[in-house]
């Protein structure tokens, strides 16, 4: 077989695809599903971001209040207060830190749960696509 025969053979025997109206319908359904997943991922990420921001703000505010209290209050009164409330403060601190840990853990778990979907999104928007 020469070059020309092969050329003619290949160009005149292209595969034929069946006309399938359901194809585009299915494609649209999949696009809608993708849109739903994208919205859900965005919503969860937004919630997680808000939760982390609120935690950060509470932490900063609490720190400022404690710093102001320590700077303004007389040293003797602080010693007296700490001595009087030492046990209660220790208990309260452990409870507060436990609650903060739960709060942060919840925020982190939201990120972790969205990783499979977001990784697909990031992979598809990555360098492989021109």
């Amino acid at each position: 077989m020469n070059e020309n025969d092969l050329n003619i053979l290949l160009r005149t025997n292209k595969p034929v695809v069946k006309d399938d109206p359901a194809f585009m319908l299915k494609a649209r359904q999949r696009m809608s599903a993708v849109e739903g997943i994208k919205n859900e991922v965005d919503r969860q990420r937004k919630h997680a971001l808000i939760a982390l921001s609120v935690t950060l703000l509470i932490g900063v505010a609490a720190g400022i209040l404690i710093a102001v209290f320590l700077l303004l209050a007389p040293i003797d009164s602080i010693r007296a207060l700490i001595g009087e409330w030492k046990l209660y403060i220790e208990v309260a601190v452990s409870i507060i830190f436990t609650l903060i840990a739960i709060y942060l853990g919840n925020g982190i778990s939201v990120f972790v749960r969205t990783i499979p979907v977001t990784s697909l999104y990031l992979r598809e928007t990555g360098s492989r696509v021109p």
């Binding site: 077989m1 025997n13 194809f23 494609a27 999949r30 993708v34």
Partner: protein, 161 residues
């Protein structure tokens, strides 16, 4: 790119896309359509990052080819057609001679290395230029020419009419 614009572009390209994948999949139309759906979904997810550096068609075909490569890498031996599908959705009015030619071409293509097969399909079946083929497959133009030359030589040996 809006969803409607994307759908309009896909509607225009869906037939050549399915034909390209049909040829790559050795005539398995169900698998080709599944891969085409996968490619369209991936393209939709990535449509926000489409910069228009290449034509939409080239971009979509490149994603489709990557889908096919991903599938080929993880496919199980039992899913590989043993002797290739024999019809390529041959129209009913086609003669048995045409069916025989389809089958011969299909079987010959199945025996080519992946890159040669893809280059032959894009160049002859989809009428793509060397440059477009290079862009779709992510290889230099010189490499496309090499694969095209090797593919032709192999096909000449494999197809006897």
């Amino acid at each position: 790119m809006t969803e409607e614009r994307f759908i309009d572009l896909v509607r225009v390209e869906q037939e050549p896309l399915r034909r390209f994948l049909l040829a790559l999949c050795g005539g398995d139309s169900a698998l080709a359509d599944d891969l085409a759906q996968d490619a369209i979904t991936r393209a939709y997810v990535a449509s926000g990052s489409y910069l228009g550096l290449s034509s939409f068609r080239t971009w979509l075909f490149r994603i489709a080819y990557n889908c096919y490569v991903d599938y080929s890498r993880k496919k199980h031996p039992e899913l590989v057609p043993i002797d290739g599908k024999d019809t390529w959705n041959l129209p009913a009015e086609e003669t048995s001679d045409a069916a025989f030619r389809y089958q011969q071409i299909n079987q010959a293509l199945e025996r080519l290395p992946e890159k040669e097969k893809a280059v032959i399909i894009l160049f002859y079946f989809e009428d793509r230029s060397i440059k477009e083929t290079a862009s779709i497959l992510g290889i230099p133009s010189g490499t496309v020419k090499y694969h095209l030359s090797m593919g032709r030589a192999h096909l000449k040996e494999l197809i006897s009419l």
